[in-house]
Amino acid sequence: MKLSIFIIEDNEQNMYLLTYLLEEKYTVYQAFNGPSGIAIAKEKRPDVILLDIQLPEMDGYAIAAALRASGDLMETPIIAVTSYAMVGDRERIMAAGATGYIEKPIDPDMFISQMISFLPEPLKTKASA
């Protein structure tokens, strides 16, 4: 069975790009804002969550914190994909509960391997298969 990856991202072009890169190998779920993202995540229990930070209504920090507070998703890897790429941004995001951090603009060739590098075993092996 394919690994499931859940993308929370408000920018349609970015969503398109990420989905395009991932859907060949993985099952992809999409959400364009925080509240629906949290609801879908609880329902689908994805293996990995990709999270944008600048989002309307609820930002990525708040979403990460909410996901971590939910019992079922406590261990789910959350990888931030964001344009916040200045000194301190990474630390802030990791402190909010993210497992990994990929800065925009993404490199389409490298994106999947970057993502896998942040996953714990046995997800890492499964994702690489």
């Binding site: 920018n11 072009q13 970015n14 790009l17 395009y20 930070i53 600048q54 989002l55 309307p56 209504e57 609820m58 930002d59 990525g60 920090y61 344009s83 916040y84 790429a85 200045m86 941004d89 800065e103 925009k104 603009p105 993404i106 490199d107 389409p108 060739d109």
Partner: protein, 672 residues
């Protein structure tokens, strides 16, 4: 037969009286009142005749007892006295109950006449001695006897008086002699005392007459002046002891003394040999028996040491006052409880208070209201612990001027006792101003640094977002699996992202140039209507694509209105405002145009979009700010548009205003 009792302490008086009584009477004699009472109680007489002044019991007492005794009280009582002869005495005697009051001596006939009434009552006890028929030798003898008795009685009475007078006189003499003896002893003792007193005094004593001729000097006075006694006595005091310029003063003082007043004054006298000596002179008038001033006594006290100390103290005082007055720092002194007792002129200048206003707790009213609380608490804490106190605080002058001072006070001790505090205040206004300027500069630098960091963060973020599209979809274009249809979509995305990137870079450039002041304003005369028209056609497609109404409203003939400003910058302002209006509207229409207002031009851009909450309006011109904070921004864009617009408006010498409410659209006005 009548029984008559006669009472007298003198036997001769008894004898004489017995012989005056009628013949045939029974006579009972007693020497005093007590004896008379005793005898009368045994044998009550028919009449009692008694002297008053007697030993053991006098006549008055006898009378009182007599009248109290039931057996005797009805028996008549006659006083017969030589001593108590006043009408007062008689009244007293009668008041005690006497029946008669007779004065000694009495002629025998008269006497008998006086007592007859008392004897008649009792019957024929009395044989009349005046009956001529019975004149006989016996009667003659009796008469003669009576004359003799009378003379004798007179003599006795005279000699009694004389003897008494003699005795009195002798006693007085004795007393006088005694007194004189005492007085002489006392006088000599007192003289000795005075001499000792005068000679043992540290002060010199001099007595002068009204012409200031010296009558007496004490040895101490001689020592003090350096003159032996013989060189002073008889001389005119002021002439030899004082400087000519002081003579009138001395004369005036002597004159005062003649009117009876005492006084004390200080003067420099001249000792023998010319050496000056400071003395304190206390002068008192000397009076004779008639209370006339006949001279004066002067007590001279050597006060040269005192004068030296005083002059030293005076010098110190002058020095202190000069220092305090001329001091470039404020000086104050307080009591141990912190109440101010002194401030110098500089203190007054710094505080803006007068000396009188500063005294006690008055100084507090000059301290700045924001500082007085802590200043007062610290000052009280310090003085309770009796330790030095330091404080920096402000004086607020009535004209609003602020003077910063550094105050410092230390306990002032005198012989181990805290007597208060003495302190100084220094004007540190300039230093404080520098400090504040430095602080402000530091804050500004820090703020600027924060802004720079935020600016860089935003550049990074804003640039990365479109780059993500450009790089991502550029990559996808190269993917052999990508269809032609997809390629067309990707190219459009590439186009949009590139536009956005360019737009962002342009905004960053603009805001940087505005902030650094490097925008050049080029004035030119141009048609405002035309510029607005250009903008209208530039945005019309975007408005239409979002189904928004879009209208340009010009005043009558507005198309030709010429304005003298920078056309490029004005157009940029309009672009930012209209760009925002479209971006934040999802319904209604957008109107823009201009109107004339008080000789100026007012451009307006009015939308019916989401509006701005009132409490956020003040933020909209901040760099990178949209109403929503950065992280949860619903609308794309750098948040620089209004910052740029405002910066440019200000460069053109205009103003920008906004009116808006949440959900009710917004209207921006730019007045040039």
């Amino acid at each position: 037969m009548k029984t008559i009792m006669i009472v007298d302490d003198k036997p001769e008086n008894l004898y004489l009286l017995k012989n005056m009584l009628p013949e045939g009477s029974v006579i009972i004699m007693a020497n005093n009142g007590a004896e008379a009472l005793g005898l009368a109680r045994k044998t009550p007489p028919d009449l009692l005749i008694t002297d008053i002044l007697m030993p053991v019991m006098d006549g008055y007492t006898l009378c009182k007892e007599w009248r109290r005794d039931d057996l005797l009280k009805s028996i008549p009582l006659i006083f017969y006295t030589a001593t108590y002869t006043d009408p007062q005495d008689e009244r007293f005697a009668m008041s005690l109950g006497a029946d008669k009051f007779l004065l000694k001596p009495q002629e025998p006939e008269a006497f008998l006449e006086q007592i007859k009434e008392f004897l008649d009552d009792a019957g024929p006890a009395i044989v009349s001695s005046t009956q001529p028929a019975e004149v006989s030798e016996l009667v003659s003898l009796k008469e003669y006897n009576q004359v003799l008795i009378r003379k004798l009685e007179d003599k006795v009475a005279d000699s009694d008086q004389a003897r008494a007078a003699m005795q009195r006189y002798a006693r007085e003499l004795e007393r006088e002699i005694e007194e004189r003896k005492h007085t002489e002893i006392a006088l000599s003792q007192r003289e000795e005392q005075y001499r000792t007193l005068v000679e043992s005094m540290n002060e010199g004593l001099v007595m002068v007459d009204n012409q200031d001729t010296i009558l007496f000097v004490s040895s101490q006075f001689c020592t003090m002046t350096g003159y032996p006694e013989k060189e002073l006595l008889g001389k005119t005091g002021y002439k030899i002891l004082f400087r000519p310029e002081d003579h009138n003063l001395i004369l005036a003082k002597n004159q005062d003394r003649r009117s009876g007043s005492k006084d004390t004054y200080e003067l420099e006298m001249i000792r023998k040999g010319g050496e000056p000596l400071w003395v304190r002179i206390s002068g008192s008038p000397v009076k004779n028996n008639l209370n006339e001033t006949i001279g004066s006594i002067g007590v001279f006290e050597d006060i040269s040491e005192e004068k030296k100390v005083t002059s030293l103290l005076d010098k110190e005082k002058v020095l202190f006052q000069t220092l305090a007055t001329a001091s470039p720092v404020g000086i104050f002194r307080t009591l141990p409880d912190g109440k101010t007792t002194y401030v110098n002129p500089k203190w007054c200048e710094l505080s803006g208070l007068s000396f009188e206003e500063a005294i006690g707790d008055g100084w507090k009213k000059a301290v700045h209201p924001d500082d007085i609380g802590i200043v007062d608490v610290n000052w009280k804490t310090d003085i309770v612990s009796e330790r030095p106190s330091r404080a920096e605080y402000r004086f607020l002058h009535p004209d609003g001027r602020i003077v910063w001072v550094l105050g410092s006070a230390v306990p002032e001790m005198h012989e181990g006792e805290l007597i208060g505090y003495v302190g100084i205040i220094t004007d540190i206004t300039e230093r404080k101003n520098y400090e504040n300027q430095l602080l402000a500069a530091k804050e500004k630098a820090e703020e600027s640094n924060r802004l720079k960091t935020a600016f860089l963060n935003n550049i990074s973020h804003e640039v990365r977002t479109p780059l993500n599209g450009i790089l991502g979809f550029g990559e996808l274009m190269l993917d052999p699996k990508t269809t032609e249809e997809e390629k067309q979509l990707y190219l459009e995305i590439l186009q949009t992202s590139s536009d956005r990137l360019l737009n962002i870079i342009t905004n960053f450039m603009d805001i940087s140039m505005i902030t650094s002041g490097s925008v050049e304003v080029r004035h030119q005369l141009f048609s405002l209507g035309e510029i607005l028209n250009q903008v209208y056609y530039q945005f019309l497609p975007r408005a239409q694509s979002r189904n928004l109404g879009f209208q340009l409203k010009l005043p009558g003939g507005g198309g030709n209105y010429l304005i003298d400003t920078d056309a490029v910058l004005l157009k940029k302002i309009l672009i930012h405002l209209i760009d925002n209006a479209i971006k934040f509207s999802d319904k209604g229409s957008i109107e823009f145009g201009f109107e004339h207002l008080n000789g100026r031009v007012r451009i307006f851009v009015k939308d019916q979009g989401i509006g701005i909450a009132e409490d956020k309006i003040h933020l909209i011109y901040e760099h990178f700010m949209q109403e929503d904070p950065l992280n949860t921004r619903k609308f794309e864009g750098s948040g620089l548009g209004l910052s740029i617009a405002r910066g440019l408006v200000s460069l053109l010498g205009g103003t920008i205003e906004v009116q808006s409410r949440k959900g009710e659209g917004a209207t921006f006005w730019v007045t040039i």
